[in-house]
């Protein structure tokens, strides 16, 4: 009996000890950023931050929730567009990125090159290539296997707008079909059963991330982007932790996952400000200096045959660049957006264009009739009783009353004929005008997702030589 009791006690103690020996607690840290928009200046500090966290935690993943490209001429105008930021992401050992809407800004061919360059996968489940021969290597999901057999499932989702497309120029999306991110995610909830932690890398925007969390079960973490939301204290919605870290690599979200015997028992996240970290990775700093010393910005893109001076001449040049973008017929640029007095005769560089037009405004397309165009011109004039809008595709004369206010605008098309009162026109204008100027319009407008500066660079490259001496398309005349 005593012997039997001792054996049972031994088995019991052995079980306890073996259970306790096998009970394994692991902390997995995910460092996530989103909407970096090609802002590479913080990368040396960010890399040093990653390394300092890796010194403390064994399992550290680095993820991007999309929009890695577009927003910094150093990267956007690099001969191999976007190359510098992928180079830095490789150096920083990113594990995955979701495809953001701006990933298409350089076109599909360039995106494929960047995917090839990247040492990490590009994810998006709600993308279908209708022409399989032209498919990009975008995966719907991936699994990351850590030591101790821990498996992290990652699902990617890209934003689509009410028109069913991501926010980029539709011409860059040929051969691709997009479906709702939230609905598509429901077809991939099986991922939860194939991994220990199920993470959605989302470029849907914070509000839609919350909708996704509240309408699904099994997603442990949504790492979001698109809305540039600074989620200071990330919260759980329906048991799913939802994070987002602003934009431009100013912040990083540090999510800590605590697993016991590969079961996720606790998760928390905090926002870190990259500038608060004191260290700098010297290797990346050297690389950054190399990229920032961008000879490409000094590249000559064309030649001015004469000085291009003053708002009229410069405005005509800028709007001609906008009007060269399909399907724009008439283009407008406000005088306040013309930031130099002159482009001197001689070579024109990319840097000259960014000095002239530094704001990053995009071209917004409106379908407007003659009376809507006329109202835009008149109300813009009446802001300060002076010519404010430069134009392409038309010339116009403002008719003023005694008080100097515009009472009418006589609009002549570039073919010399008066504007057709029964026709609608494709009117492109800077996003500043689109959002700041009051005028009646039936069409709410759509961004063409090309900056006014980029349209001008393309225009001058195409023309090779430009001459705007004496150009003036907007004038005033007193009413008789």
């Amino acid at each position: 009996m005593i012997r039997r009791t001792l054996i049972l006690a031994s088995i019991f103690l052995f079980s306890i000890f073996s259970l306790s020996a096998n009970s394994d607690t692991t902390r997995v840290v995910i460092l996530s950023v989103n909407d970096m928009h090609a802002k590479i200046d913080n990368f040396p500090r960010f890399k040093s931050l990653i390394d300092s966290i890796k010194q403390v935690y064994e399992h550290v993943l680095v993820l991007s929730a999309g929009d890695n490209f577009t927003g910094n001429p150093v990267v956007d105008q690099y001969p191999d567009k976007g190359y510098p930021i992928i180079d830095m992401m490789n150096y920083s050992n990113f594990n995955a990125t979701v495809v953001g809407n701006h990933e298409f800004d350089y076109g599909q061919e360039v995106l494929e090159k960047r995917i090839s360059q990247a040492g990490f996968p590009f994810l998006a489940a709600n993308i279908t290539f209708t022409d399989k021969e032209k498919s990009l290597r975008i995966q719907p999901y991936t699994f990351l296997n850590l030591k101790k057999g821990i498996r992290i499932g990652l699902l990617g989702l890209i934003q689509i707008n009410p028109a069913g497309l991501p926010d980029t120029h539709p011409s860059r999306l040929s051969g691709i079909k997009f479906t709702s991110g939230i609905e598509t995610a429901k077809d991939f909830l099986w991922i939860k059963d194939s991994c220990d932690v199920f993470v959605v890398l989302s470029h849907l925007g914070f509000e839609d991330d919350v909708v996704l969390a509240e309408n699904t079960s099994g997603i442990d973490l949504i790492i979001g982007g698109h809305t540039h939301t600074v989620a200071n204290a990330p919260k759980e919605f329906n048991g799913t932790l939802v994070t987002q870290a602003g934009s431009n690599l100013r912040y990083v979200t540090m999510t800590t996952l605590c697993l016991v015997d590969k079961q996720l028992v606790k998760k928390s996240a905090q926002l870190l400000k990259v500038s608060d970290h004191k260290g700098i990775d010297q290797g990346l700093q050297t690389l950054l200096e190399k990229y920032n010393d961008n000879k490409e910005l000094n590249t000559v893109i064309g030649k001015a045959l004469n000085d291009i001076s003053g708002k009229d001449e410069l405005g005509c040049l800028m709007t001609d660049g906008m009007a060269a973008v399909d399907p724009v017929e008439i283009a407008f640029q406000n005088n306040g957006g013309i930031r130099v007095d002159k482009i001197p005769q001689g070579d024109i560089t990319i840097k000259d264009i960014y000095k002239l037009d530094p704001f990053g405004n995009e071209i917004v397309l409106f379908n407007l009739n003659a009376s809507e165009i006329k109202e835009l011109i008149i109300t813009s004039f009446n802001r300060d009783n002076s010519i404010d809008l430069q134009a392409s595709g038309i010339t116009y004369s403002i008719v003023q009353n005694e008080a100097g206010q515009a009472t009418d605008a006589i609009i002549i098309m570039s073919n010399g004929k008066p504007i057709d009162l029964n026709k609608d026109y494709n009117v492109g204008m800077s996003s500043y005008i689109a959002s700041s100027y009051e005028f009646s319009k039936r069409d709410q407008g759509t961004s063409l997702y090309i900056t006014t500066a980029q349209s001008l660079i393309n225009f001058i490259k195409e023309k090779k030589e430009v001459d705007y001496k004496g150009f003036k398309r907007a004038k005033t005349e007193k009413a008789e």
Binding site: D167, E207, T229, S431, S435, G445
Partner: protein
Amino acid sequence: MTIFINNTGLNLYTGATVLDALRAYYRELQSDFPEKLPTILDSFGNEIETDGSLIHLQRLYTIDFEYNEKLFEND
């Protein structure tokens, strides 16, 4: 695309940013665009950066903080 700032509905072009929404908002109020931008929050109390993309029917709120020294004189 329709979004709301402080419950004022704004019709914006597709692809507009938070900054565009603010411009339209102050235009709607017939108020000058402020030199110092307010803090912009979403429905969940998160701060939103001005270059952020907007989502149809998104609701944003502006908070103006003004430090008033007199309030702290007796501290």
